[in-house]
């Protein structure tokens, strides 16, 4: 029968996930005419990321798109995708995500949690803002570096040489302005929407995490769909993926260009950053810290290709 899918996420209605992803999906589903439609709930209306993970598992929310590591307390393997310097680029990320090993991981996610992955959308790379240029791990020594309250993010910060300070997102702006903390990291779009450029002098394009977010459906919902609905949904998610990725890339490029033009903040481009030093330090730290875990082993193996 006809199914209306509740697609909830945490980003603003203007985020590419909504405008270039979900809105386009809604159009395509309407055209496909298989009795599927989408009702979007942006901006944490139905909960934060961790809460939405709960709700997708219980089937109270049908679809969502996640930062992978938010699924890690249910399926530790998800840490792999958000670990520091695991990927060199977005293309590199899809090499793992769409590989045979990737398929096994997504199957593991389904079996462990009841969350079915349909595709992955580029969220962007995370970069560092600080009041000094960051060109090598040495520049981060003793720097109080805000991270989300999440054990992987804490280790990621340590792995690039910083001193992690877990802090709630809503406190970051004032904490930066008042010097409670020295630096933070986020994708460029977040840096812009949170106006961190007002209280920080430099954005260093370290790209220490390249995040490609899984787009998921609750298995409880999936089991209610007929074959043609399943095929259509899968195709629609994949069909908008390149568009979303393109939107994210052009938005990031536009932001860098804007900052360079209005000089609200000094951008340290990637080619002025000692990426090899960052990668080496991060990969050693992560491989050592998580060497005993299943995902840690895959990390070590993947980065030493």
């Amino acid at each position: 029968g006809d199914v209306s899918l509740r697609f909830a996420h945490i980003w603003a209605p203007g985020h590419p996930f909504q405008t270039c992803g979900i809105d386009k999906m809604a159009e395509m589903l309407k055209k496909a005419d298989v009795g599927l439609s989408i009702r979007a709930y942006p901006s944490e209306q139905l909960g934060t990321m961790a809460q939405l993970a709960d709700s997708v598992v219980s089937g109270d929310v049908d679809m969502s798109v996640f930062g992978a590591s938010y699924l890690a307390n249910r399926y530790e393997m998800m840490n792999l995708f958000d670990s520091a310097y695991v990927f060199e680029s977005a293309e590199d990320a899809s090499k793992l995500i769409e590989s045979k090993r990737g398929a096994e991981i997504w199957q593991g996610l389904l079996e462990k949690t009841g969350i079915r992955r349909l595709g992955n959308w580029l969220y962007g790379a995370r970069h560092i803002t600080a009041n000094k240029p960051v060109r090598s791990p040495a520049d981060l020594e003793g720097v109080k570096f805000r991270v989300p309250d999440n054990s992987l993010m804490i280790e990621n910060a340590r792995s690039i040489g910083a001193t992690p300070v877990p802090m709630a997102f809503g406190e970051v702006y004032l904490a930066l302005q008042q010097g409670v903390i020295d630096a933070q990291e986020n994708p460029l779009t977040v840096i812009e929407t949170q106006k961190f450029t007002e209280v920080q002098d430099y954005v260093s394009l370290t790209g220490h995490m390249i995040q490609v977010s899984p787009v998921v459906v609750s298995e409880k919902t999936w089991q209610k769909l007929d074959d043609s609905q399943r095929d259509t949904l899968l195709n629609v998610v994949k069909g908008v993926t390149e568009g979303v990725n393109e939107c994210v890339r052009s938005q990031e490029a536009a932001l860098v260009a804007k900052w360079q033009k209005d000089a609200s903040v000094t951008v340290i481009p990637a080619d002025e950053i000692d990426m090899d030093a960052f990668r080496k330090k991060a990969r050693e730290h992560i491989s050592k810290t998580y060497g005993d875990t299943e995902w840690g082993k895959i990390y070590a193996e993947f980065v030493s290709r």
Binding site: A12, Y41, Q45, L174, K195
Partner: protein
């Protein structure tokens, strides 16, 4: 339609004196169960409602307030300000407002002001022979200054939700907060013209100086808190802990006004007041999840806002909607649900999002004073024993100066935007 049934059943349960938390949570939980959702979702929403770091400011500033009460700190602030202003007709009305302005520099939420200062203000005013309704009304109304003058928890939530600069929004609140104080002071003046109010005698300069010295450790509290935040020693939430430690130091060491037994009582009181309020926050999270799910706020405002292309009318409509929404929703929840939806309209009408933030927060703060879900009324009822009915009747007249200030702030953007522009935001 079913949503209307839900709201009616909440109102019926409230009428049968069921605790507000249960009256909100149970019908909402039944609603989601009947809607085919899982057993787990209601529990998850209640958990999510209180799982927030900034909310830690509630017990912290409440405890600080209770310690200041028990340890004679608030009293000494009162003695000092009253010694200076006592000869004015209706002085405690002005003292009440000034105390809230001072306190707003260390508090980020109206309920915290009400819980911290409310008890002593109402007690003092009743002892001096002020009408109970007047006392509770001016206390409730002045508590809304707290989240307008920085620090402010609603401002944090708004800034994050709307994607505006928090620093800008903080500083934008300073002048509107002072304007609210002025509007309330005018209301007190008008009241004293038409009512019999007590007046104390004029004190000598020496007496005032003595009261000032006695109150100095207490008066230092907001200075330490604000300087600490703006010098970057701690975050606004952490400032709550500093406030507690400082109040404890002053009460126990400087004033020697607290025993172990009293400390236990204060802690237990804080635990009970925190739980009584937070369990409502938890319950309203279930209710607001249902509202979000049914896209009720969007439908409502689409119907209301689709009718005009004038920014003047739009702002007026928004204020009306926010005042109505504030009657049933807790402000943070209302911000989280409504602000993302209003942002495109704010841009379409060419309004400044920071200015709009001040309007939104102030309008929702007024909602804290209006039944059926008016947390400040409940807090004052809890801490002072004044009946809810008296609290409502006493507060009603003070909505006039507050709404007047709101309209002035809404239609004169410079009041909000002068300082942010001066500081280069």
């Amino acid at each position: 339609m079913t949503l209307i049934l839900l709201i009616i059943s909440i109102l019926v349960l409230l009428a049968f004196r069921l605790p507000v938390a249960l009256a909100l949570a149970v019908p909402s939980a039944v609603y989601v169960l009947l809607g085919g959702f899982s057993m787990e979702i209601a529990a998850q929403r209640m958990f999510a409602g209180v799982d927030s770091f900034p909310l830690l400011a509630v017990p912290l500033f409440m405890l600080a307030g209770a310690l200041m009460n028990q340890g004679g700190i608030t009293e000494r602030i009162f003695e000092f300000v009253e010694s200076a202003l006592g000869h004015i007709r209706g002085s405690l009305g002005y003292v009440n407002i000034s105390a809230s302005v001072v306190f707003s520099g260390m508090s980020g939420a109206a309920v915290v002001d009400a819980a911290g200062l409310g008890a002593i203000e109402i007690k003092a005013m009743k002892e001096r022979g002020y009408d109970e309704k007047f006392a509770v009304g001016i206390t409730a109304a002045s508590s809304t200054i707290g989240p307008i003058i920085p620090p402010s928890i609603p401002a944090v939530v708004y800034a994050v939700t709307a994607g505006v600069s928090l620093g800008s929004l903080f500083i934008a609140g300073v002048l509107p907060g002072l304007l609210m104080a002025l509007a309330l002071a005018i209301a007190v003046y008008v009241y004293t013209r038409f009512n019999d109010v007590p007046t104390s005698r004029r004190e000598s300069a020496a007496f005032i100086w003595k009261a000032f010295v006695r109150a100095l450790p207490a008066l230092m509290a907001p200075v330490i808190i604000l300087a600490g935040i703006f010098a970057g020693f701690f975050t606004p939430t952490e400032a709550g802990a500093i406030a507690v430690l400082y109040a404890l130091l002053v009460a126990a060491v400087v004033y020697r006004a607290i025993t172990w037994r009293q400390l236990w009582t204060v802690l237990l009181q804080t635990a009970e007041m925190t739980a009584a309020i937070m369990v409502i926050v938890a319950a309203s999270a279930v209710f607001s999840w249902v509202l979000a799910l049914e896209q009720a706020p969007q439908l409502l405002s689409a119907a209301v806002l689709g009718t005009t292309d004038s920014p003047f009318v739009f702002v007026l409509l928004v204020i009306v909607v926010l005042l109505l929404v504030g009657m049933v929703l807790e402000p943070l929840t209302a911000i989280l649900i409504l602000v993302p939806m209003l942002q495109p309209l704010v841009r379409a009408y060419g309004l400044d999002p920071v200015h709009f933030g001040v309007i939104t927060i102030l309008a929702l703060m007024i909602g804290l004073l209006t039944p059926p879900v008016g947390l400040v009324l409940y807090v004052l009822h809890s801490v002072s024993g004044v009946s809810i009915r008296t609290a409502i009747q006493g507060t009603l007249p003070f909505l006039i100066p507050l709404i007047a200030a709101l309209l002035l702030i809404a239609y004169v953007p410079q009041i909000s935007l002068l300082l942010p522009r001066y500081f280069g935001f």
